[in-house]
Symmetry: C2
Subunit: 190 residues, 2 copies
């Protein structure tokens, strides 16, 4: 998505340790109009796949998942992190390793919101090592639902997650894939 | 908002301790199309107030705030909770007491995203004791920005938050106000 690449080049900043900050429009401050365009693009990519539900993880996945859900006119479900204090009844959950915080956490959804008849599209803001998305695929498996694929705003192509997920024959659609980053430069994969 | 009241009556469930569960459409699973309608209603209520930014708190405020930002065509900013590990540079922050978890936490935003020229609309999914919204008003004060008001999806009118905020001359627009709840019944304030 050319508009997203342009936005990354214009507004993104690079911090030491291959950290790309896009907090001006994607995951702290959110450019609402632009986020709805991202949702439309995801909707276009998965328009013919019979998606019945969009699944993401709190917190930074919620905005892009809502935009995708609105474009596809299907409900969005966000998995909760850490503990399950706000979750009641039967749940599906999976353990996820966070490299950022060097810790494990759980992602959980209430079982009533994922059915074997659901065709689920995973949506997230970033794909790096892919562990969060793997956790969501486990949740979908537990529900007996069908995984349609995953739509990602920004994939860090120089980390392993994208390749690992594609090797599992999961359809991954990343709207912008960063091939490489230096302190001053970003190169996209096309 | 009649459609929201109907949705609460149709899909909401009441748990012991005056807990209203609306996780089927508002804050776990989200009815994306309906959430965009909620955003439109908020946009209509604040169409003439020169809002430049919508402010909320992660995680359950993000969806309704994005919908409001999209309706008003302004950026949305979500305050982060707990720690500031994903936040860099100068920040504005405030302490908030959570009655649900009987603990204090901090809400923080990067200072670069709130300017003295900003006219800020606070948006959240729930208003009960009002402490989260009070924390956000502190953040807005620190930035020297102008608080336009707060738009809330569901206010628990039988808790004190709404009254306390209105007594501070803050404009509060709640799309549904629950006057009282029993184990089997919900009464709305009109």
């Amino acid at each position: 998505m050319k508009a997203l690449e342009d936005k990354i080049l214009r507004e993104g900043t690079i911090l030491p340790g291959n950290i790309l900050k896009v907090g001006s429009f994607l995951n702290h401050q959110i450019d609402a109009d632009f986020m709805m365009e991202i949702g439309q693009e995801i909707g276009r990519l998965f328009a013919n796949d019979g998606v019945t539900k969009v699944l993401t993880i709190e917190a930074s996945g919620i905005a892009v998942a809502l935009a995708a859900g609105a474009a596809l006119h299907v409900p969005m479900l966000f998995a909760k992190k850490h503990n399950t204090s706000n979750i009641s009844g039967e749940i599906y959950q999976a353990k996820v390793h966070s490299y950022t915080h060097n810790t494990d956490y759980h992602v959980a959804v209430e079982a009533q919101f994922l059915k074997p008849t659901d065709r689920v599209l995973i949506v997230d803001d970033f794909l790096a090592n892919g562990k969060a998305i793997l956790g969501l695929t486990e949740v979908i498996e537990q529900a007996g639902a069908t995984l349609v694929g995953a739509a990602i705003a920004i994939e860090k192509g120089f980390q392993k997650g994208g390749e690992e997920l594609r090797n599992r024959n999961i359809r991954i659609e990343s709207l912008a894939i960063i091939e490489s980053m230096t302190d001053t430069d970003i190169t996209f994969r096309h």
